[in-house]
């Protein structure tokens, strides 16, 4: 899966990055780069056993939810 993500990052980087660089749209290029790095970061953090955004949301809200709702 990590390989697929890395290849996707590379492909999207080329697909979106080159036209943006040609048009000198640096803000857009930076934004694209940031999102691609974020996706790599999430995948890598999963591989390293770190928490994903959903895990963090669960840690925050699940105890409150379990207080009010029926247990599964």
């Amino acid at each position: 899966m990590t390989t697929i993500i890395i290849i996707s990052v590379f492909l999207i980087g080329i697909l979106e990055g080159i036209p943006l660089a040609k048009k000198r749209m640096w803000k857009e290029l930076l934004c694209v780069g940031f999102l691609l790095i974020m996706s790599l970061f999430f995948q890598t953090s999963k591989n390293l056993g770190m928490a994903t955004p959903i895990d963090l949301i669960e840690k925050l809200f699940e105890p409150i939810g379990k207080t009010f709702l029926n247990k599964l």
Partner: protein, 362 residues
């Protein structure tokens, strides 16, 4: 140059309808029955009332800040810095919803239809279609929903007509057996899912008649609630509460029940085709809203370059977050409703009161 996209009121209605029914139909029916028991129908009705009230607020804000969506009027009301911090919650929320929706869909497809196909492959194929839809623009998504939405509604009505002979109303009794608590706690649960139509705040500025925002949302939510209500009543009336609360996918089980003699059976494949279509358009709308929102926060000229990276982020969140369907159910029941209520209701009410107190207008 920022894209000038325009949708009609009709497209507005059907996009919201597809979003509400696909998201709720895939995830929530079983959860609301599990929580509210035989009074799940009451939770649905109460959630409809609250959602209509919420629609009033969103529609009012859409008129008070003409041509601006929630992200833009966050910045107008609270200033650039604080407005961006508050405003970015909306696109991030839409991205998470897209991940949850697609992951839920892939789990159902993998469990029921394609047990030997990797979930990742199902997700990739869904997202390829979603990316194509978003790159074509919200107008294309609106046009697809204009065709798919009525078809979806019609199929729900036909299915409900098939279920009616087998529904035993006695299975919905006794009402309020455990008091009001189950129905009252079921209401925010289902409201958090149908409340995803706060995306109306993104549609109002691009609608050719923004003053129709409330009417469009009211129509979409009413139609969606009718579908959900008919599914809830059918499920409990046919399967009874003890069985219904443990079903993995209620709408699928209901469609398996449909038959006309020996020659009209196994319609679940048709049902699933329709719901996949609705789920993909819903996901496409979420990714579009995320891309537009982020481009406005950062101050970009166009949102199109962000679409593919957004799809990739959504895919990664979806694939890394839930190991199996139980994880997803756990998240949908205990974590998602609170997060959603905070964003859908909490943030918007905060912006509403801030606009009134600070006397800000568009």
């Amino acid at each position: 140059m920022r894209e000038k996209e325009v949708i009609s009121t009709n497209q507005f209605i059907w996009m919201l309808f597809c979003i509400i029914t696909s998201f709720t139909g895939l995830h929530v029916i079983r959860l609301v029955i599990f929580q509210a028991r035989r009074d799940a129908w009451l939770s649905v009705i109460l959630a409809w009332v609250l959602d209509v009230l919420l629609a009033v607020v969103y529609a009012y804000m859409g008129i008070r800040f003409p041509g601006q969506n929630m992200i833009q009027y966050s910045m107008t009301i609270l200033g650039k810095r604080l407005g961006k911090i508050i405003g970015i919650s909306f696109p991030i929320f839409f991205l998470l919803v897209s991940s949850i929706l697609q992951r839920g869909l892939s789990i159902i497809l993998n469990t029921v239809f394609f047990p030997k196909t990797p979930v990742a492959l199902i997700l990739i194929s869904s997202y390829l279609v979603v990316s194509y839809a978003v790159l074509k623009g919200i107008e294309s998504i609106g046009r697809v929903c204009e065709i798919l939405g009525p078809f979806f509604l019609f199929s729900c009505i036909v299915l409900f007509l098939f279920f009616i002979p087998d529904v035993k109303i006695d299975r919905l009794k006794p009402q309020l057996e455990a008091g009001l608590y189950p129905a009252l706690t079921g209401t925010p649960l289902i409201l958090s899912f149908i409340g995803i139509c706060i995306i109306m705040g993104m549609y109002i500025p691009i609608c050719n008649h923004p003053e129709n925002g409330f009417t469009a949302k009211f129509t979409a939510v009413s139609l969606g609630t009718f579908v959900i209500l008919s599914l809830v009543i059918s499920t409990i009336g046919i399967f009874s509460y003890p069985q219904a609360k443990n079903m993995i996918n209620v709408s699928l089980e209901l469609t398996r029940f449909v038959h006309l003699g020996d020659f009209f059976e196994r319609v679940e494949a048709i049902w699933l085709m329709i719901i996949i279509g609705a789920a993909i358009t819903a996901s496409a709308s979420m990714i579009w809203a995320f891309s537009v929102g982020i481009s406005q926060i950062v101050g970009l000229n166009t949102y199109k370059p962000l679409v593919l990276p957004a799809i990739l982020v959504s895919f990664v969140i979806g694939i890394t977050s839930f190991k199996n369907s139980l994880d997803l159910v756990n998240f949908s029941l205990y974590s998602y409703p609170l997060m959603a209520i905070l964003v859908e209701t909490g943030l918007e009410m905060f912006l509403f009161f801030a606009a009134l107190i600070l006397k800000k207008k568009g």
